[in-house]
């Protein structure tokens, strides 16, 4: 009887990957693809060495160097000793254990969540993990993808499985037509501002509705990417023709007849009619406007034309102290607007918004214009392939003429592990995913926004409503 029950796409994928379900134990979940990088893997490889075991299946493991790499002079040895050591350790570990590494200089190198999809490694119906919370990005293809810690990286390297309790399910449905100047980054910032930075903790989210269906794969990835910013274990979008067209012909995607067979299988994935979710939320796309964050967690967001709430407007009394601490850090007054606020830096990059479509969006606004004198603008492509494509399309010329600095791929100022840091006290409008205290460098202040909003801020030198520009 239970087999007849309508299932969500999440349940279909999860249940198909349970190797063992035992009373009182979490599920042993098989992982189809494991992405690794230099920061969260060294201690896991050490663990394998201590136990004297090999990587369970190297063909399901892909490595790249992204978090801790310089974005200038990538052909030279890394200057910073600790960063160099970490990248060299990844090289040594991949060689010793036989894992494919897309190292600095390799044409496939880039941010792990950008290269997986563009190489066709990320496919519908898969389970995927990485020692990085933004692994949720891959959910855009209709897969169950989530971030894990290093002990879990070791589990997956050793056994290709992870022990996990099945999360609850949440459906977020967005219908209607998006307004002018509103892009997928605004959708996800809007959702998080509605449900808070912990609103989806314990849940796996499925995004549905015609506003989601109308989005490109790049735009869907931006949404799934930030699922973790509302605490969700992951977020996914059921695959459709947009998904299949994106995957077709990519390097590691099934080819020819195998592709057609795969598509037939992928078409079975979408949630069954009548499938039940633990929570369902619905929003109207027409209510969404260009968004910006004002505080120190991604839930502290608002319409760019709005004003910051006052202390009295907070729902919970217990939130007041944290709210005040946050605005104090940001150097902002409760109740004040952000429009016209001068910014010092513009960062266009990260696994959220550094795909070719993001760079095209920025170029479309910037073409023929110059950046404001008070801002420094960094454009960091998500991968070597994105960089190559940008050069091919002449986007580099547009950025150069505007006074933007186009650098080489990496995570860069999203988390400031390398040299790319926003200085103390400075404001940065950023296309990345986190506005935490010190995230972009000690005492840095971040406004999260879409690539369009970041591009107009680069031109005007201040927080601006993109709709005045297009």
């Amino acid at each position: 009887m239970s087999e007849q029950k309508p299932k969500t796409i999440f349940e279909k994928i999860w249940d198909a990957h349970v190797v063992k379900r035992a009373e009182g134990y979490p599920d042993a979940l098989f992982i189809d693809r494991h992405y690794i990088h230099e920061v969260t893997s060294p201690q896991a490889f050490d663990g394998l060495r201590k136990r004297g075991i090999k990587v369970f299946n190297v063909n399901r493991t892909t490595a790249t160097a992204d978090h801790n790499v310089p974005t200038k002079d990538q052909h030279l040895p890394i200057k910073e000793a600790l960063s160099r050591h970490q990248v060299e350790t990844l090289r040594k570990n991949c060689k010793e254990f036989g894992v494919e590494l897309y190292d600095l200089g390799h044409p496939f190198q880039g941010i792990v969540h950008i290269i997986g999809p563009e190489l066709g490694l990320t496919q519908p119906g898969m389970t995927m993990v990485c020692g990085d919370s933004h692994t949720s990005t891959h959910g855009a293809f209709g897969s169950v993808a989530f971030g894990i810690g290093t002990s879990e990286v070791e589990q997956v390297l050793a056994t290709q499985c992870i022990l996990q309790y099945k999360p609850k399910t949440m459906k977020i449905e967005i219908n209607g037509k998006l307004g002018k100047g509103v892009v997928s980054k605004d959708i996800i910032l809007y959702i998080i501002s509605k449900i808070s930075a912990s609103g989806a903790t314990g849940f796996f989210v499925e995004y549905t509705g015609d506003a989601i269906r109308s989005l490109s794969m790049e735009a869907r990835m931006t949404i799934c990417n930030m699922s973790i910013e509302m605490g969700a274990r992951g977020g996914l979008i059921a695959p459709d023709e947009t998904t299949f067209n994106y995957i077709k012909g990519r390097r590691f995607a099934p080819q020819g007849e195998a592709f057609d067979k795969a598509v037939a299988k992928w078409k079975q994935l979408p949630s069954d009619a009548g499938a039940a979710y633990d929570v369902v939320l619905k929003y109207d796309a027409a209510d969404i406007e260009p968004m910006i964050t004002y505080g120190t967690n991604p839930g502290m967001g608002m319409k760019v034309t709005d004003r910051i709430p006052t202390v009295e407007e907070l729902k919970e009394l217990s939130e007041q102290a944290s709210f005040k601490k946050s605005l104090d850090y940001m150097g902002l007054e409760p109740g004040s607007p952000l429009m016209g606020k001068a910014v010092d830096y513009v960062f266009i990059g990260s696994c959220t918004n550094a795909r070719i479509e993001d760079l095209r969006l920025v170029a479309s606004i910037v073409k023929g214009k110059k950046k404001a004198d008070n801002v420094e603008v960094w454009v960091i492509p998500g991968s070597k392939q994105v960089e190559e494509q940008a050069l091919k399309e002449g986007l580099n010329k547009v950025f150069e003429d505007a006074g933007f600095e186009l650098r080489s791929p990496g995570c860069s100022a999203c988390l400031g592990m390398n040299e790319d840091k926003v200085p103390p006290g400075k404001y940065c409008i950023s296309t990345s995913n986190r506005n935490f205290e010190g995230r972009q460098g000690p005492k840095s202040r971040t406004f999260l926004a879409s690539p369009l909003s970041a591009a107009v801020a680069a031109i005007t030198g201040k927080v601006t409503d993109v709709r005045e520009f297009i």
Partner: protein, 194 residues
């Protein structure tokens, strides 16, 4: 990594009444360059503990001589953000064995449990009461009894949830890999079939 066995802990506690403490605050990204698990405690809450010249910031709880102990008590949504297990390593390395909050982020919770740090989820009311007791009387002794799943102080007590498997792991110092390695044959078969 199997560590110490955990059954019952009696200790004073350190209050940190801030909500949404993300893992970038627990251990900033610039300290993630190490390739071992040790030594992260020195930089736990680094940017809240030290000013730009590396001098301790007096008002911060970890620098307040009145507070000490193996239990950290923090505001809701503790450990949100990055999946970095370094946050759990830093908390362990500093000497904490329990973090009490009214809500934890999922990945942090797993990471803590995998590193012999017990996340104890309590009600908002209990949390506020515990925080104010510690602030008024820093020597307040808190008891965390894993066997009976109970946290208590000053005559107040509350039960907490933990799943049976993770409880067993903590009590006996087991880890997940031991269990998964025992499934090797089934996993091989599954891998071949997919």
């Amino acid at each position: 990594m199997s560590k110490d066995n955990f059954t019952i802990l009696k200790s004073t506690a350190v209050p940190l009444p801030v909500e949404n403490i993300d893992t970038d605050q627990i251990i900033p990204a610039r300290f993630l360059k190490a390739t071992t698990r040790e030594g992260f405690g020195d930089n736990l809450f680094c940017d809240w503990r030290f000013d730009g010249n590396n001098n301790p910031i007096k008002e911060f709880a970890l620098n307040n001589a009145a507070y000490s102990g193996k239990i950290l008590v923090a505001g809701k949504n503790f450990g949100c953000g990055s999946s970095r297990e370094h946050a759990a390593w830093a908390i362990y390395d500093y000497g904490f064995r329990v973090v009490v909050s009214s809500f934890f982020a999922d990945i942090f919770k797993n990471n803590a449990l995998n590193n012999a740090v017990l996340p104890v989820v309590v009600s908002d009311k209990f949390l506020q009461s515990l925080l104010s007791s510690i602030q008024q009387k820093p020597k307040t002794e808190v008891t965390v009894d894993l066997l009976n799943q109970q946290i208590s102080f000053d005559g107040q007590a509350e039960q907490f949830e933990i799943n049976a498997y993770k409880k067993e792991c903590l009590i006996n110092g087991y880890d997940d890999i031991d269990y998964l390695l025992s499934l090797n044959k089934e996993i091989r078969e599954f891998d071949l079939a997919h």
